[in-house]
Amino acid sequence: MNWPLFALCLWILLGFELSAKAIIALGPTGIAPSFVIPLAVFVALGAPPVHALWACLIAGLCLDLTGRAGGSDAVVPGPHALGMLLAGQLVLATRSIVIRRNPLTLAALSAAAALLTGLVVVFLYGIRSLLFGSVDASGWDQLVARSGAALYTGVTGLLLALVLVPSVGLFGFQTDHLGRGGSRRF
């Protein structure tokens, strides 16, 4: 896997995550798509398993470090990283039965990964709330907002697929040779 290219894409998409997300959010609901999750899903679709999980963990950690729990000053490393690690595992488990080159695959798996990440984040923040009574993001409102955000992430996944899927070769993902025509899919 081409790690420098992954780092470059993560840098760009994290920049979008911190800026464009607010612009395209649905009103004051906090429902906004993720740009980083589709990248992690794309890597998980094509990279060797351990590389894929590392990429998901790193991407999630970046989200944790640039987030603030429930408007407080607390930066909590872990919830997004663990959520995306599980999401990466989900993609690894399903990638053998999906058409990886289809943009809809990236869209659907991005939505699923975002939903799973959101569930883990709400769960861990919920435990923090119970333990410390802090102003952490938890509860039904959060769950609803993150579920909506997960669906919305499917849309960004679809758009990013148009850029990412053609760059499979650049990422250095292993490709499977199909048939005599030499057509490939990753």
């Binding site: 896997m1 906090g30 351990v50 930066v75 861990l124």
Partner: protein, 297 residues
């Protein structure tokens, strides 16, 4: 580019150990996670070359325009009277701005005003978790920003944006007043007559870009104050820095009777700007230097 993947067993083990470590860390109290805030500042600063232009583009496409309100003749009349009363205040502000221009022309990047230093800062991004509502501004320790600072937006009237909750070397985080927060904020409704001082209101963010809360009952039973849509509400809260007092919280957009106490009114107050789309803020930093103290005294 296709390569054969070789994973040493240790890579997997490190991943598992790291995951367990993160699970442990994510359940630590906030006081043990201060180092993470520093790491977050570094990551946020590193991505600023991407987030800043995108933010600027976003602010250009969707500016923090004034919220649409139900305008009627009564409201406009009240505003008109209020504007007349503010004329004198604006005249004083012009004097202050002229002083600002003189100082800036002298090469000073920030100014001292009534014991508070003003510093302009661009909003470069938000935090990745949009539900937190926190804004990231490009000014930090290096520019003398402290957690005592408050952010305002330069509109026709200084609109209070929020409080600085964290300061990094080159960035700071601002929590807007419209972000859901257990802390209440006390304001005073601005009257258009007499001394301009109306009743207090204890406001709490609704999560819908506005704040609401009960109106305080006057100690003087003869004193009456009619609350109307369109009246300004200004910060008058001892829990906030002195330099922030008097900043505009917003305007009354709805008045209704408190269902629990029919004698009392509840008002909804909406800021003049969409605080989540502000592109530039003015940070009011309490000037704690000796000179400022002498000036203040």
């Amino acid at each position: 580019m296709a390569r054969t993947a070789h994973h040493s067993p240790s890579s997997k083990q490190v991943l598992i150990l790291l995951s367990l470590g993160l699970l442990f860390v994510s359940l630590l109290p906030s006081r043990f996670l201060r180092w993470a805030a520093w790491s977050g500042d570094v990551v946020t600063t590193v991505v600023t070359p991407v987030s800043d232009p995108v933010s600027r583009f976003g602010h250009w496409v969707a500016p923090a325009r004034r919220e649409a309100r139900q305008g009627d003749i009564d409201q406009l009349t009240i505003e008109n009277e209020g504007l007349r009363l503010q004329r004198d205040r604006f005249a004083r502000r012009v004097e202050r701005l002229e002083e600002t221009v003189r100082r800036l022309q002298g090469g000073i990047g920030s100014i001292s005003l009534g014991g508070a230093r003003l510093l302009e800062a661009a909003i470069t991004s938000r935090t990745s978790d949009l539900t937190s509502g926190v804004l990231v501004a490009r000014a930090g320790n290096a520019q003398g920003v402290t957690t005592e600072a408050v952010a305002a937006a330069a509109t026709e009237d200084y609109q209070l944006v929020g409080r600085v909750i964290h300061v990094g070397p080159r960035i700071c985080h601002i929590r807007p007043i419209t972000t859901e927060n257990p802390e209440r904020i006390r304001g005073r409704i601005e009257a258009v007559e007499e001394d301009g001082r109306g009743p207090y209101v204890s406001l709490e963010a609704t999560g819908d870009r506005s704040l609401e809360g009960p109106v305080g009952v006057s100690e003087d039973p003869l004193e009456t104050f009619e609350i109307a849509v369109g009246q300004r509400v200004r910060l008058d809260d001892p829990a906030w820095p002195v330099g922030a007092q008097g900043l505009l919280i917003g305007r009354v957009t709805e008045v209704r009777t408190d269902p629990d106490d029919p004698q009392r009114n509840v008002v909804e107050v909406t800021p003049d700007l969409r605080l989540d789309r502000v592109g530039q803020v003015v940070l009011r930093i309490p000037d704690l230097s000796d000179d400022a103290e002498e000036d203040g005294s």
